[in-house]
Symmetry: C2
Subunit: 175 residues, 2 copies
């Protein structure tokens, strides 16, 4: 079975996505997973299945958010990056990240998530580096994010600085 | 002279802006400035004069940015808030701030600036509180920003928390 036959075999969603914008889907890696070699694809299409995304966020224990709002957030993000596994057994959304931006100077990365079964394989770095690459190509120079304490070193390894020149991240929450 | 006669007397830019969307311009304060009572107006229109904005940013010593990119950034910001002084003597852009957002969950405030002559009069708080109000009305719950050390206490007084739960602001800069 060729790669492309395999690719289109099981996943209506993926093939629809691929049909719409073939340039937005690319093979990035082959990794060993459960005694099987699987292909990991990266997509920058905003045409993402919201139910698949909810399942992915569930897998890391995030609080559920209304799908209607998730759809709006994706539409109004500057950039969406998703990772899919494509194998004979299943096709699955296994990673996601997005960035808001003013399309000129600043961008902020949000919602970086890798399915627990696929963590520790370098896929988070692939996601974030793809975002950096695309933002740099768009000549956006200030790339920011807000990092939980447990992922500080992950982002430091990717070249992010925390609180440079004493600049502090601040949050306003509803009373 | 009535307020509206005064309002339209000198400022082509302001009157054009007002004509296009009268709801977006409102009188917020009368303040004493150079032995004169001046009216301060707040506008949420994106139809802002870029040369006036550049002068305002020059007044606080910011590095100049290409106006073409500034225009793109304003267009792609979720929200723009400007302050104008309207007096018999002159009409002037004296404050500005903007926010990016995904229109659903998160927003980030950027480029908060008050002309030095008008600092210490509570206008910065008016700008930021207006942004918070508008974002809350749009049901955006996570309002963020990156604060230089010298303005940390300003934002704390407005209810912002720095590094809540150990979350840290991070920046990636081009090598």
């Amino acid at each position: 079975m060729t790669l492309w036959t395999l690719f289109f075999k099981n996943s209506k969603i993926l093939s629809e996505q691929f049909d719409k914008d073939p340039k937005k889907m690319m093979l990035i890696n082959n990794i060993q997973h459960k005694n099987e070699i699987i292909n990991i694809y990266l997509s920058t299409s905003k045409n993402i299945n919201l139910s698949d995304l909810e399942k992915l966020c569930d897998s890391v224990g995030w609080i559920r958010r209304p799908l209607k709002k998730v759809k709006i957030a994706i539409k109004n993000s500057f950039l969406i990056v998703s990772l899919f596994q494509i194998s004979e057994r299943e096709n699955k959304l296994i990673g996601f990240a997005r960035a808001t931006s003013d399309y000129a100077f600043n961008a902020t990365i949000w919602d970086v998530v890798i399915h627990p079964e696929f963590q520790g394989k370098g896929l988070g770095s692939i996601l974030v580096n793809q975002i950096i690459k695309d933002l740099r190509e768009a000549e956006i120079t200030t790339i920011t994010l807000f990092a939980d304490p447990e992922v500080l070193s992950f982002y430091k390894n990717l070249g992010f600085l925390s609180d440079p020149n004493g600049i502090r991240g601040m949050f306003w929450y509803p009373k």
